[in-house]
Amino acid sequence: MKIKDGFVLREVMGNYVAVAVGEASKSFRGMIKLNATAADIWNCISQGMDEDGIYDVLFAKYEVDGEKLRADIKATLETLEVNGLLER
């Protein structure tokens, strides 16, 4: 899986936003706000990680319950995909 070409993540005033640049900005104008976990997941995907890799990174960072974290990651990946930010 990968972040759709032409989308980048920025931190602005304590918020994470995905915006389209270059060619992609012709069909998508505006900003999609991401929460901190989604931003972490985005960064993992950008580094080429799969779902297991993302899990390891977030588990180390947040020390949350394993099942809940897996569910959160799945839900976030779906949201990113539905919003046209993720290809898999």
Binding site: V12, M13, G14, N15, V19, V21
Partner: protein, 235 residues
């Protein structure tokens, strides 16, 4: 007609204008120059598209000016500046910007400041000032484009505060963290179509949020409201 140059937020801008109206509109800002940082251009198609946006009739001349300012706004972020929708005044030497969706009462609020605090207060720009970020801080500059009242004086001031206005039953003001008002604040910033300038605008807003204090004013339209904001921000 020949192009002319204006000085805007300390940049030279070449105005490729067809109409004398635009030159008159910019008269306070005209300078003699041989080179420039920004070239403002537009086209008949753009002006036609702009004309179609208005319900009540506007002149082509007026719309040319709007299109040229948009051309400038597209380029300003590359020079660490951006167009902000708000009413900017100076008070005791510092600049204050009131921002809110159109019709909330920004103009009324700054007119109350002028009425109540007289000599201490002067208008910088009533609608679309330019914010500049430097290493030492943030400065607000005027421009000829100043809304329907045309309140603008060719001036600038270091920003002392930025205040979101909301209508409320009581007059009260508080310091806010801009991160919690992200959507409202970003709506008041000109976001360029050009990707490089758009990303730069995000950086500049992020920097601005770290440099200047932000406030939320809930108010009615009264002198008490103006005293509330003045005492909190200026004194």
């Amino acid at each position: 007609m020949e192009a002319f140059y204006i000085k805007l937020a300390e940049l030279n801008v070449k105005m490729e204008s067809k109409y004398d109206h635009t030159r008159r509109y910019c008269s306070e800002y005209i300078v003699e120059a041989a080179d420039c940082e920004i070239v403002a251009t537009t086209s008949d198609d753009e002006i036609d598209a702009e004309l179609r946006l208005y319900e009540d009739p506007h002149s082509r001349e007026y719309c040319e000016g709007i299109c040229l300012y948009r051309s400038i706004a597209e380029q300003l972020p590359l020079f660490d500046r951006f167009v902000f929708h708000g009413a900017a005044v100076s008070a005791n030497g510092k600049g204050y910007i009131f921002t809110a969706p159109s019709g909330t009462g920004k103009t009324t609020h700054i007119s109350l400041w002028m009425k109540l605090f007289g000599d201490k207060v002067s208008v910088i720009n009533g609608d679309k000032p330019i914010v500049r970020i430097t290493e030492s801080g943030a400065t607000v500059y005027s421009s000829p484009w100043a809304g329907k009242e045309g309140w603008s004086t060719n001036s600038f001031a270091d920003i002392g505060g930025i205040c979101l206005i909301r209508r409320g039953e009581r007059n009260r003001i508080k310091r806010i963290s801009p991160s919690e008002y992200f959507d409202e604040l970003m709506h008041q910033v000109y976001i360029p179509k050009n990707s490089e300038a758009m990303l730069k605008t995000l950086e500049l807003m992020d920097a601005l949020a770290k440099i200047v204090p932000f406030y939320l004013l809930e108010c009615d339209i009264s002198e008490d409201a103006a005293r509330t904001s003045f005492e909190a921000m200026v004194k």
